[in-house]
């Protein structure tokens, strides 16, 4: 038998070519959250809404967001998201939206919703992949000029492909952006759905005014706060928090002339002394240009950066919602009788600052039966999927809620009329995957979440036990209201007296004994009468 000769090395080399990021993601769309039609529709809405809110907050505009989902044939939807944000200059539009991994957020660290530069362009890619149609973008910066684009993405080149471009000159002065596209998807209204997501966005962003016009009608989420939380400060990455791949890219794109100045300029908490120490430990020349560092040297540099003792990163770059806004958000959607919140001081995981805040709503009209509702929020973005893998869920189930007045069997979500919202704010949220649905379980993150949960737990326990006490008092009064007339009648019969005066006296004693006999559970006391 003669074997067919295999490929030669030359032939193989001809087959090799660079795979554009966009092409890679076309083939691996599940990584971005497009694994099924239901989730895909949610991901599109999520990415576009994230962008709108980020843009508004960055320019200190109180967000006003319109979301529209209308059926467009079988399994297809026309999706539109519009905001009152800063808009975008005409030139910027195709690049910002038609190219993956293009973005201003990548090498700066700041607490924001999107970070990777794939969110919005990912939605355009998904739209053209499932329907073959271009995405319409209309934007204006408030200068009287409105740009109109129809964009697709050239998958091989990872470049925008402009299908249509024109200016609308109707003289209208406005700022903001509107993105409209047709996608394949499935619309549901269950637990993990677009309406649930928007509801949670409204809770986590109580200063935003959101209108949702869905297949089953319109829902308004008015804002309940008129102030934006402070703008998070931008920081440079801390050497402990950087990954090798990112370090390589930073080295390549650095404007510094030496490795030492690169370390000092592009990282936080690195001074002249630390820079020299890192280079010495890595055994590389500190005066060499960062662009010319060999791959093996880069690795050595990376290791040295982890080993050198450095001050912790600054934490004033974080912007938590604050206890007030958290509670306002919860009050907006839940009619509960008791609210409490706890904001932890900032902490650091692997060189990245983060901060935990937690709030609880309890009782009132919340359902008595079933597990409590848990809202997982990262940088003001609700997470709906992969709850089992998430550090937030793990922290909740490993907290003993029975001591805080909820019931719980083993390590599970507690049961009771309560909603708990956990917000993780960080310059870099450690998601377990690119679809950003679960927080990785760093011990320090779990520890912080649990401390915050215990804080609200103690508040909750005080409320619940106070409530129980009041109920006990009421029950006790009712008991005696029922028994005393019977006792009075019986004692009257035994002593041949009228029952009414006896009852009046008993009622008098009851007032004095209102606080007594707390040992209400007990057996009758045993005494030795001798």
């Amino acid at each position: 038998m003669v074997e067919k000769p295999g490929k030669t090395a030359q032939e193989m080399a001809r087959d090799h070519r660079e795979v554009a990021v966009s092409e890679f993601f076309e083939k691996n769309r599940h990584l971005l959250g497009y694994d099924n039609p239901t989730k895909a529709l949610l991901t599109v809405i999520k990415e576009l809404v994230d962008n709108s809110l980020d843009a508004c907050e960055e320019t200190r505009i109180l967000p006003r967001v319109w979301i529209e989902i209308k059926p467009d044939g079988a399994d297809r939807f026309r999706v539109m998201v519009k905001d009152n944000g800063p808009g975008m200059t005409d030139k910027q539009i195709p690049l910002a939206l038609g190219k993956l991994l293009y973005g201003s957020k990548f090498f700066k660290l700041r607490q924001s919703r999107g970070t990777q530069g794939i969110g919005a362009s990912g939605t355009i890619l998904y739209s053209q992949l499932t329907t073959g149609k271009p995405t319409t973008i209309i934007a204006s910066t408030g200068n009287g000029k409105t740009s109109y684009y129809e964009i697709m993405i050239d998958v091989k080149k990872n470049d925008p492909e402009i299908v249509s471009h024109q200016f609308i000159e109707d003289g209208k002065i406005w700022h903001g952006m509107k993105v409209e596209m047709t996608i394949e998807g499935r619309y549901v209204e269950s637990r993990k759905s677009v309406p649930e997501y928007i509801k949670q966005v409204a809770i986590a962003n109580p200063y935003a005014n959101i209108t949702f016009d869905g297949p089953n009608g319109r829902v308004e989420f008015p804002r309940t706060a008129n102030e934006l939380p402070p703008l998070p400060k931008e920081i440079k990455p801390h050497p402990y928090g950087v990954e090798l791949g990112i370090l390589r890219r930073m080295l390549k794109s650095s404007k510094s002339r030496t490795v030492a100045s690169f370390l000092m300029n592009d990282f936080s908490r690195v001074g002249g002394g630390s820079a020299k120490e890192i280079c010495k430990l890595a055994d590389i020349d500190s005066k060499i240009s960062p662009q010319r560092l060999e791959i093996t040297d880069t690795e050595k540099l990376f290791k040295a950066m982890q080993k050198t003792k450095l001050i912790r990163p600054p934490t004033d770059c974080l912007s938590p919602l604050g206890e007030d806004l958290l509670i306002k958000g919860l009050k907006k959607e839940f009619k509960a009788e008791f609210f409490a919140s706890v904001t932890r001081p900032p902490a650091v995981y692997r060189g990245n600052p983060f901060q935990i805040e937690v709030a609880v709503a309890y009782g009132g009209e919340l359902p008595q039966e079933g597990s409590i509702k848990v809202l997982r929020i990262t940088n003001r973005v609700p997470l709906l999927y992969q709850e089992g893998d998430c550090a937030i869920t793990k922290s909740i189930i490993t907290t003993d809620w029975r001591r805080y007045g909820l019931s719980q069997s083993g390590r599970s979500i507690p049961v009771g009329p309560a909603v708990i919202i956990v917000h993780l704010a960080s310059v870099w949220v450690p998601y377990i995957s690119e679809s950003k649905q679960a927080v990785a379980s760093y011990p320090v993150i779990i520890k912080e979440i649990k401390l915050a949960l215990q804080g609200i737990g103690r508040n909750l326990q005080r409320h619940v036990s106070g409530k129980r006490k009041a109920e006990m008092q009421k029950k006790r009064k009712e008991i005696f209201d029922r028994y005393l007339p019977e006792v009075a009648k019986a004692v009257g019969k035994l002593t041949d007296k009228k029952p009414e005066p006896i009852l009046n006296k008993l009622k008098g004693i009851l007032k004095n004994y209102a606080k007594v006999s707390e040992d209400g559970r007990g057996k009758e006391k045993t005494e030795n009468s001798g």
Partner: protein, 357 residues
């Protein structure tokens, strides 16, 4: 009875005194559980110790029982006043009612009112019968005895196959004539009927009494009176298992829950005729035994610890049962022949005085 009426009134007045002094009214109730029951070696009786529990009105855990105690006491006073009797069941139904503006009843079950009646007995030192309360009728008797009950003369040997049903209150009947050598107390009705049909009581000159299970107060008091007033020996005949033996011990020494009236109900001279585990070998009953259940063994282990079962003969029987894991009912004797019990077993036991203490 004047005395009972007075005691009930004093109970009410004590409570009223507390009320008038603006105190939390309380009543003292002697504890009726094993922890407060003493076995008196000399009198061979179970008697009540002096531990008392206090029942308060203004204590959520006590309040309901306090109210119930007052309701029962008040009804008892009415029974005295009108001089009428009623049953435990009837008392429960008279007092059961829904409290105004609630879903709560004064009493939900007879199991709630019965112990309150015993509380009153112990508290006031009077008998249930004196409170004009009767239990359900249980237990029958046959024998050469004439009694007088409510003016009627009754010959207990001339009442046909059923014998005489023993009323719950035998305090007021008089024993007119008793012609017997001993009393045989039988746990089970079936064995009683066999002995009656075989005219065992005529041949043996004895009185047959069946308790139909754990003895009620009527039969216990009747046995006690017959035995005490006519100096008759009492022989008790039960299944060979922990429950049968306990029935015997209640007849002889009194019971834990009614330890306060042991002297009126107990027959310290009673003897146990059978069945025993040893009988199984002696009378070749092996083929007619039953395997014990876990509860039988558990009960036997408890009884091993009771002071009134400390006699070596009883310790031996209890341990035998635990070891061999078998028990025997009276019916096992019928396995040896339908008249084996009347013609062989009982006569031989009595002739040989083969009793357990």
């Amino acid at each position: 009875m004047v005395e009972v009426k007075k005691k009930l009134k004093i109970l009410g007045e004590d409570v009223l005194k507390d009320i008038n002094q603006k105190k939390n009214p309380d009543i003292d109730i002697p504890i009726r559980s094993l922890s407060n029951v003493i076995y008196n070696e000399k009198t061979k009786q179970l008697t009540l110790g002096n531990k008392v529990s206090k029942r308060y009105l203004f204590n959520v855990a006590h309040a309901k029982r306090f109210m119930q105690t007052m309701l029962v006491a008040a009804l008892c006073k009415e029974l005295q006043k009108e001089n009428i009797h009623t049953s435990l069941r009837d008392l429960f139904y008279i007092l059961k009612k829904t409290l105004p503006n609630s879903d709560e009843n004064t009493f939900d079950e007879q199991r709630e009112s019965d112990p309150i009646i015993v509380d009153l007995e112990v508290m006031l030192g009077i008998l249930r019968e004196q409170l004009h309360l009767n239990a359900d009728v249980r237990g029958r008797v046959v024998g050469n005895v004439v009694i007088k009950d409510m003016g009627d003369l009754i010959n207990l040997g001339k009442l046909g196959s059923g014998g005489w049903a023993i009323p719950s209150n035998v305090e007021d009947l008089t024993l007119k004539r008793v012609n017997a050598k001993y009393i045989l107390v039988i746990e089970k009705n079936a064995a009683f009927e066999r002995l009656h049909e075989d005219k065992f009581w005529k041949k043996q000159k004895c009185i047959l009494i069946t308790t139909q299970g754990q003895a009620a107060r009527g039969p216990r008091r009747l046995i006690q009176r017959l035995s005490a007033e006519y100096k008759l020996p009492v022989y008790v005949f039960t299944d060979a298992d922990s429950y049968g033996w306990y029935i015997y011990s209640v007849l002889k020494y009194g019971s834990i829950s009614l330890a306060h009236i042991s002297e009126r109900l107990g027959c310290p001279n009673a003897k146990f005729i059978g069945l025993t585990i040893s009988d199984i070998d002696e009378f070749k009953l092996e083929d007619f035994t039953i395997k014990t259940r876990d509860v039988d063994i558990k009960r036997a282990r408890e009884m091993l610890k009771y002071d009134w079962f400390k006699h070596p003969a009883w310790q031996k029987e209890l341990k035998l049962m635990i070891k061999r894991k078998i028990k025997a009912e009276l019916e096992a004797l019928s396995g040896r022949g339908l008249r084996f019990m009347t013609e062989v077993y009982l006569p031989r036991k009595i002739k040989n005085k083969d009793f357990l203490p």
